[in-house]
Symmetry: C3
Subunit: 154 residues, 3 copies
């Protein structure tokens, strides 16, 4: 694995976007001493929400996995905006993953692995995290997935 986070991002051919502005009256992140709270991030790409609808009917597992991956790219973009340098991350303590899905959908773990796998690829051991995975009836702006994060930082 490459030595620095920037090298790993480059190896993944991944450029972090400008962090999305909150869609309402709140902050995209809050720093409290050695903790960084990242607001729920949507699968937003250059043209807005890239994955809309309900997993299990409108989207399949692979599309939803890509949506979860994109949410984490936006989590990392917010973290970079908050910290200046992602090397200040000590540990990802928790990812909360919310999947807009049908009541019959049960493959949440595979979907959220799109988020978990990427954050470990980028941050290495510091990307290992506890996780919450639930299926919800709908998400803001019809997003298919939403991911929030908590980091220990220096």
């Amino acid at each position: 694995m490459a030595d620095t986070i920037d090298e790993r991002l480059a190896a993944l051919n991944l450029e972090l976007p400008s962090p999305a502005a909150p869609v309402a009256n709140y902050a995209p992140f809050m720093i409290d001493g050695s903790r960084l709270y990242i607001s729920g991030q949507m699968p937003v790409g250059p043209d807005g929400i890239a994955y809309k609808g309900h997993v299990g009917s409108d989207l399949d597992v692979e599309q939803a996995r890509q949506a979860a991956r994109l949410c984490v790219i936006n989590v990392l973009a917010q973290a970079k905006a908050a910290l200046g340098d992602l090397e200040r991350i000590e540990q990802c303590l928790k990812l909360g993953g919310y999947i807009s899905c049908t009541p019959e959908f049960i493959d949440h773990p595979q979907v959220l692995n799109g988020a978990s796998d990427l954050i470990v690829e980028v941050l290495g051991e510091k990307g290992r995290h506890s996780r919450l995975a639930v299926g919800v009836s709908s998400l803001p702006l019809n997003a298919a997935v939403e991911v929030e994060a908590l980091f220990a930082v220096k």
Copy 2:
């Protein structure tokens, strides 16, 4: 903006209610050093849950926004019970907003602005927070909205 939280509450013509007792075997809040965790609060008024049902069918966005605002009033009532004085709040670190809604509902941000706007009106810059917004299939006692909060306190 008025100088103290009490003056701002008065300017908003807002009197904090007696904090609601938990509807089950748990604590309405927990203090851990410099952190205050507030249990999920319902839109409870003098006569019980004031906003019931699913947003998008039983309630419209404006009613749901009022419900979210009422949840935050109850969050503040719990914080006052926990701290004695709301001036002990250093920062609202996070609001978690859960909206009981139809699968087709997508206006979660507008609804939760009822919560975010009020907490900023009352606490000023200390009211700025990270946020999670999701739509859920149902909430305790048929409440339309539930809001939990995390504060840094002194």
Copy 3:
């Protein structure tokens, strides 16, 4: 009440299982100084998920209460794996309870009391916690209930 946690577990005739491995690429818990984050736990028994489906149609309140209790047994098993000794717990700061249920279901508090009651029985005053209770459209592997936890530890 018995003096030690082990004595209370024995009085409840409760043997903690081997902690379940995560069903995907994440950690079952993360320790950050004096905080222990436990990933969302399912109602897993010796033969896998013991309570499946939606509360309000597939399961009744009592079955769901047993599911919530089993989730907390798995929370405690993870905490023991994390800490070595449950006596290192200073306080349960928060339980997050997610119930897979029909849109008409409103008895979330009774269900999650299965979780809250057990953790107080086992940990005593240190088991008292703030709580979030929501109803969701579905959960991983068709589980009926999921419970995450945050502890202050020494």
